[in-house]
Symmetry: D2
Subunit: 130 residues, 4 copies
């Protein structure tokens, strides 16, 4: 299941060098993941009803190309791999010239909301990785 | 050469879950690196005078503990390793209870400002890795 | 000349109370003004060619309704009044239920880029206020 | 009761023009108000225990001087005036050269947390305006 989110780079997202700041890329990725979870029918609310919270534990991002104000970017999110209590999403940011601006692996764990201990990835999420 | 930067988590840096957002950690790390470069006598201006720009190409960050409003954090930056045209800084974020909140490896390349091609890491920077 | 910009409230723009933070509204307004200047054929570049910089000197904003994640907002910008060396834009933020979320008056002055002194509002900008 | 908060302008708070963005000033002001409420013994929690929420309804800010990376700013907050269900704080931002960078009036209303209707300003808050 691959989900794409389109966004436009806004003026206040540009740093002193005239391009999007490193940290902002992580916001773009988060917006892309939100879209992915929503399209998957796995909203924050749905997880809460299962007593589960997902927590991001690692982000490994390659910065490949600068993004500038007015750029129309597409953030893609696809399932990469799933373990017992963790899973990895692969995300990419492409610009309007079809250039790869960044790619990242984002690792999350599923936690029991009450005990704050890790818990098996629920079936509804796991099946998206096949 | 290890450099520490202290900061306080502010209200507008907190997300809907009541803790510092993933992306914000990268801003904290950038502030820490700025401090490191400055203490090393390697300001943005100094690099420009050498005709060099440094560009971050990879950040690999582990999120280990949530940070909350009012937390007093210390960002540490130390040289990890240096190659021909790239170098890696190790950064950590600690809270007031001496808990490790995040650690990251940040890889940058040195680029010729005019040609935008990679260029050997200058001696002034290289020697900090010994 | 009224210009509208549509945007979607993203997860990282939400604060601990679950709604868009006060400061973020000002970013939305800035995005709206950028769109207005662009539609007016008055880009940052165009001003620079006239040797002019515009500087925001006052923002007076009323917060009327909370905005939440996923809200589809429209930022409208219209000329309010023009003086000798300053001008006022009226901006509003509306949500998908046609509720007014905020309205603001934004006052800017036109400055000579070289001398940093105020300068008459150029005719190309002035005529948009009639 | 005047409260001051010191802060340092960080690299990621600088926009493409090399100075602090308009919206960021509002974050600085919010940090200053948080400090004011805390020093006044009126934390978010204290208000909640009274069943009260404070909501910002207007900010009127004058931008007087640019702030730059590394600037050491002081945000001051003083009570300006109080009405039946609303109150106004005056805030200023000063730089290390004792120049006024911005001043603002911030109007808030006190709301009943349950009914979401306006409610008289509590005595603990009101007495700070005398």
């Amino acid at each position: 299941m691959k989900v794409s989110l389109e966004l436009i780079v806004r003026s206040t997202e540009i740093d002193v060098n005239g391009h999007v700041n490193n940290a902002k890329y992580l916001e773009y990725l988060e917006w892309g993941r939100e879209e992915w979870y929503e399209k998957a029918g796995l909203s924050y609310q749905t997880f809460l009803e299962m007593g589960i919270q997902t927590v991001t534990v690692n982000i490994n991002i390659n910065y490949r190309k600068e993004c500038r104000q007015g750029d129309v970017l597409v953030v893609t999110t696809i399932p990469e791999k799933v373990g017992c209590t963790s899973y990895v999403l692969r995300q990419e940011i492409w610009n309007q010239a079809d250039e790869l601006c960044a790619d990242a692996l984002v690792t999350s764990v599923t936690m029991d909301e009450a005990t704050r201990k890790s818990r098996p990835v629920p079936e509804q999420l796991k099946r998206l990785f096949n």
